[in-house]
Subunit: 185 residues, 2 copies
């Protein structure tokens, strides 16, 4: 057992590409954890966004929740799916740290990363379009801004976009690392 590990260390010092590949795998793991935190934080921040205005009539309370806008519901679902995927991908990432030469599992992970990137960007961008509309409105179509009334709600839904876009950037770097690791066998 000890002998084989010594052999492996000797092997890695002889071929620097294995060392680089292991460094890439460790960085991949760290970035996945960061992306998980970003997307989960975004999902929670958006999912708990609601504001009730202090004035109300006899029949109506002025209240804004994230699920009043279907796009924001999609944002929460998309971020939830991506963060769940990122947790599930962590064991495979650890496997890649131990076995730097793994090839097929890297390709499979890379293609899922790409699909998840698409899902994450779709959620973040569609919500950004709606958040922009909530802030600025559109006079041509008579869609009036709602952020004058629901100020803290708007701040919350705007802020939760940041984590999602941060997660998307991290996923792009993760895909780049997968490409580098695949080319360095």
């Amino acid at each position: 057992m000890k002998g084989s590990s010594a052999l492996r260390v000797e092997g890695s010092s002889r071929m620097p590409s294995t060392g680089i590949s292991r460094g890439v795998s460790v960085l991949d793991f760290v970035l996945r954890v960061m992306a998980f935190i970003c997307t989960l934080g975004s999902a929670i921040a958006m999912g708990t966004a609601n504001e009730t205005l202090p004035f109300f009539t006899r029949f109506f309370r002025f209240r804004a929740r994230f699920d009043d806008l279907p796009t924001l519901t999609f944002f929460v679902v998309a971020n939830g799916i991506v963060s769940g995927y990122l947790v599930l991908s962590l064991p495979i990432s650890i496997f890649h740290i131990m076995r730097s030469s793994a090839k097929n599992s890297r390709i499979v992970l890379m293609i899922f990363d790409t699909i998840m990137l698409g899902l994450l960007v779709a959620g973040a961008s569609s919500s950004a379009a709606i958040v922009y509309l909530a802030h600025k409105g559109n006079m041509k179509t008579n869609w009036f801004p709602i952020c004058q009334q629901f100020n803290s709600f708007c701040e919350r839904i705007s802020g939760s976009l940041i984590g999602s876009y941060g997660g998307a950037v991290l996923l792009i770097v993760i895909i780049l690392l997968a490409g580098i690791a695949l080319s360095r066998r």
Copy 2:
């Protein structure tokens, strides 16, 4: 033991892997041309979308153009950028057909593909959110649907999303092919 068997497998598969790699490169080229047609078609379809209603008052004409909604302008710009990038990437794709063993250029192309995928999905998804709003409206925020009035305009902007999403799917396949080509040197 395992290392030597892996070496033997790699050695025996070296001859046919060049052929597979060339096939992958040719497929990459074809998919790029298809994705270019999709994104350019989307950009043109959206960019030429406008409708003037047959009735008007003395001071006002009822007219809908894609640049009345800033998100749709972003859609046209994003699709234009991605289709321009795809044209520029074609010579590199041809270079990959001729030299299947190219490595660094594949990684560079892959990372740009990933960024362009993000841009394309961002444009398509934000526009989809706005198109959905134009169709259905949102009663909670008093955003009324505009598609009852501008029927053909709405059909046009809905249809132009298809090409953009098609281009995104093609780009995901292109990134997958890059991963396969990188692993098969």
